[in-house]
C-alpha cells in the first residue's frame, strides 16, 4: 500500500519534472513580455521531430543532434517572435494568444503533412533500465530529467539575478520605457527571450521523447506544464518548477487513486480553482499596482 503511494510519488516527480522544464519556457516569455506563447508545445514537438530526423535518418550522433537542434530551434523561436509577437505588440493581449495558437497549428499540421509515419522512437539521454530504491522503481532517465529540470531552474535563476543580460531582461519586463532609456534594445531582448524559451522547449522535447514517443501532438504536454506553472505562480521561476512537480505528483496520485480516464479533467478543474482562490499561485507574489 505504502509502496504504491511511494511509487506514484516517484513517477509523479518524473512527470512533474517534465512539466517544470516545459513550464519554465512559458514563464521566461511571460516574465519578459507579459504574454503566452501558445505554440510552446509545438516548438517542443518540432525540436524532438528534427532531432529524430537528424539522428535516425541523417545519422547524427546523440550529442551533435542535441546541439544542432538547439541552434535550429533558437532560430525558430526568433522567427515566431518576429511573425507572431512583434507585429502585434500594441494589440490586446488576446491577439498574441491567437497568433501564437495559429503558429502552433501551422507547425503541427505541417509536420503531419511532411511526416506520415506513426509513432517514432528517439533514444534516451540516460538509460531507461529500471533500478530499485526500496520498493520504488526508477529509471535513470526519470531521475536525469528531474536533475536537469532542477539544474535549469538554478541556472536560469542565477542568470536572471546575477548577469547583466539577465537583469536587463527583468528590467525590460518591469518597465519598457525605462529599459529603452537605460540603453537596452527592447526588441533584441525579446528575440533573445523567445530563443531561450524555444531552446528550453526543444531540450525538453528531446528529453521526454523516449517516454512519450515523437508524434505531431506530443505538444499537449505543454498545456499541463502551463497549469503547473500557474499552480506554482507564474511570476517566479522557482514557483513554476515547484508547481510543475506538484502537479506531476498530484496528477499521478489522482490517476492511481481516483480516476485515470478523467485525471486531465480534474487537473483543469484544479486550474480554475487555483485561479479563483489564489491567482498569483502558491508562491508567486502579487503584482503591486502602480499609478
Amino acid at each position: 500500500m505504502m509502496g504504491v503511494m511511494l511509487q506514484a510519488i516517484a513517477s509523479g516527480m518524473t512527470l512533474g519534472s517534465i512539466y517544470a522544464l516545459v513550464g519554465l519556457g512559458f514563464v521566461v516569455i511571460y516574465q519578459a513580455t507579459r504574454t503566452l506563447n501558445f505554440a510552446h508545445g509545438e516548438v517542443l514537438m518540432l525540436g524532438a521531430m528534427i532531432g529524430l530526423i537528424l539522428h535516425t535518418e541523417w545519422q547524427f550522433g546523440y550529442w551533435s543532434t542535441f546541439a544542432v537542434v538547439l541552434i535550429l530551434i533558437a532560430v525558430v523561436g526568433v522567427v515566431i517572435e518576429r511573425v507572431a509577437y512583434r507585429p502585434l505588440i500594441r494589440a490586446p493581449a488576446a491577439t498574441v494568444i491567437m497568433s501564437t495558437a495559429a503558429v502552433g497549428q501551422i507547425i503541427r499540421s505541417t509536420v503531419r503533412i511532411l511526416r506520415t509515419e506513426e509513432l517514432s522512437f528517439f533514444p534516451p539521454m540516460f538509460s531507461l533500465e529500471p533500478f530499485h530504491i526500496g520498493p520504488v522503481v526508477l529509471t535513470r532517465l526519470g531521475v536525469g530529467i528531474t536533475g536537469i529540470a532542477v539544474f535549469a531552474v538554478m541556472a536560469f535563476t542565477l542568470f536572471f539575478r546575477y548577469t547583466t543580460m539577465g537583469t536587463a531582461m527583468r528590467a525590460t519586463s518591469q518597465n519598457q520605457t525605462a529599459a529603452w532609456l537605460v540603453g537596452i534594445s527592447v526588441p533584441r531582448i525579446f528575440s533573445l527571450i523567445w530563443a531561450i524559451s524555444a531552446v528550453l522547449a526543444a531540450a525538453a522535447g528531446m528529453l521526454i521523447a523516449p517516454l512519450v514517443l515523437v508524434r505531431p501532438d506530443m505538444g499537449v504536454v505543454a498545456i499541463k506544464a502551463f497549469v503547473g506553472a500557474v499552480l506554482g505562480g507564474f511570476n517566479s521561476l522557482a514557483g513554476a518548477v515547484i508547481g510543475g512537480l506538484l502537479l506531476g505528483v498530484v496528477e499521478t496520485l489522482i490517476g492511481v487513486y481516483v480516476t485515470s480516464a478523467f485525471k486531465d479533467v480534474v487537473v483543469f478543474a484544479l486550474l480554475i480553482i487555483v485561479l479563483l482562490v489564489r491567482p498569483s499561485g502558491l508562491i508567486g507574489r502579487q503584482e503591486v499596482l502602480r499609478v
Binding site: 547583466t164 536587463a168 527583468r170 528590467a171 518591469q174 525605462a178 529603452w180 532609456l181 540603453g183 537596452i184
Partner: protein
C-alpha cells in the same frame, strides 16, 4: 550640443509639438517651462526617440539622431530621467543603478561610479539592497537621477525632477542638479517649479500649446511676469 529644428510630433491623431526649435549649447544648462499639456514631456520623449517625430530634425553632438532608436541615442551619451520616475520596481536599488550603466563597457569604472552616486545621494546608500518599488517618492526620484548618471551622459534630460516632492527634498534635488552641472554635463530640465528651475539654468524656453512662446536668459525671465502668467493666469 543638442539642436532641435522645426520639430513636429505627436501621438496618433493628436499633434502635440508644432515646429519647435531649441538649442542646448555644450556645457550649458537650459530649462523648458510651460503649463500642463504644453508639450514639455513630449519634447523630451521626442529627443530620446520614444516618440517619432513627423518633421524637422534633431542633432546631437554633430550628428542627426531623429531616426535612431532610444537605445542607440543613449549610447551616444544622452540620458533622460523620465517623468514620474519610472524606476524598475522589482529590481534592487543597486540593480537599478547598475543597469543604468547598461550601455557602457568599462566594468571597473561602473563600480567607481556607483560609489560616486552614493556620495551624491547618501539616502540611497542604506537602501542598496532594497526593492526599488518600496522606496518613497523622493528616494525613487533620487534613484532615477542616479540611474541616468550611471550612463555617464554628456547631456542629461530631466523631466519634472521636483514632481510630487516635499520642499526639503526639492532643495536637495536642486543641490544635486547643481552638483551635476558643476561636473560639466549639459542639462535640459523640464520643470513645473519655475523659480527653482530658472535659478539653476542659464537659458529658458517657455512652451505654450506645443510651440515656443518665449525664450531668453533665465535671469531675465525670472523677473518677467509673463512666465508667472503661464502658470497663475493674468493678474
Amino acid at each position: 550640443m543638442l539642436e532641435l529644428e522645426g520639430v513636429t510630433a505627436g501621438y496618433g491623431a493628436i499633434t502635440v509639438l508644432r515646429e519647435v526649435s531649441l538649442r542646448v549649447p555644450e556645457g550649458a544648462s537650459v530649462c523648458l517651462l510651460g503649463a500642463n499639456g504644453a508639450g514639455k514631456t513630449t519634447t523630451l520623449r521626442t529627443i530620446t526617440g520614444l516618440v517619432r517625430l513627423r518633421s524637422g530634425r534633431i542633432r546631437f553632438a554633430g550628428a542627426r539622431i531623429d531616426r535612431l532608436f532610444p537605445d542607440q541615442i543613449v549610447r551616444r551619451g544622452l540620458a533622460m530621467v523620465p517623468e514620474r520616475r519610472e524606476i524598475f520596481p522589482f529590481l534592487s536599488v543597486e540593480e537599478n543603478l547598475r543597469i543604468g550603466a547598461f550601455s557602457r563597457r568599462d566594468r571597473r569604472e561602473v563600480s567607481h561610479d556607483l560609489d560616486r552616486m552614493m556620495a551624491l545621494f547618501p539616502l540611497l546608500r542604506e537602501r542598496l539592497s532594497q526593492q526599488a518599488g518600496t522606496l518613497s517618492g523622493g528616494e525613487q526620484q533620487m534613484l532615477a537621477i542616479a540611474r541616468a548618471l550611471m550612463a555617464r551622459p554628456n547631456l542629461l534630460l530631466l523631466d519634472e525632477p521636483s514632481l510630487g516632492l516635499a520642499p526639503l527634498l526639492v532643495q536637495l534635488m536642486f543641490q544635486a542638479i547643481a552638483a551635476i552641472r558643476a561636473r560639466g554635463a549639459s542639462l535640459l530640465i523640464v520643470e513645473q517649479n519655475a523659480r527653482m528651475a530658472l535659478s539653476v539654468t542659464d537659458y529658458a524656453y517657455v512652451l505654450e500649446s506645443g510651440t515656443v512662446a518665449l525664450e531668453g536668459n533665465s535671469a531675465v525671465l525670472k523677473s518677467d511676469s509673463a512666465v508667472e502668467e503661464t502658470y497663475l493666469g493674468q493678474v
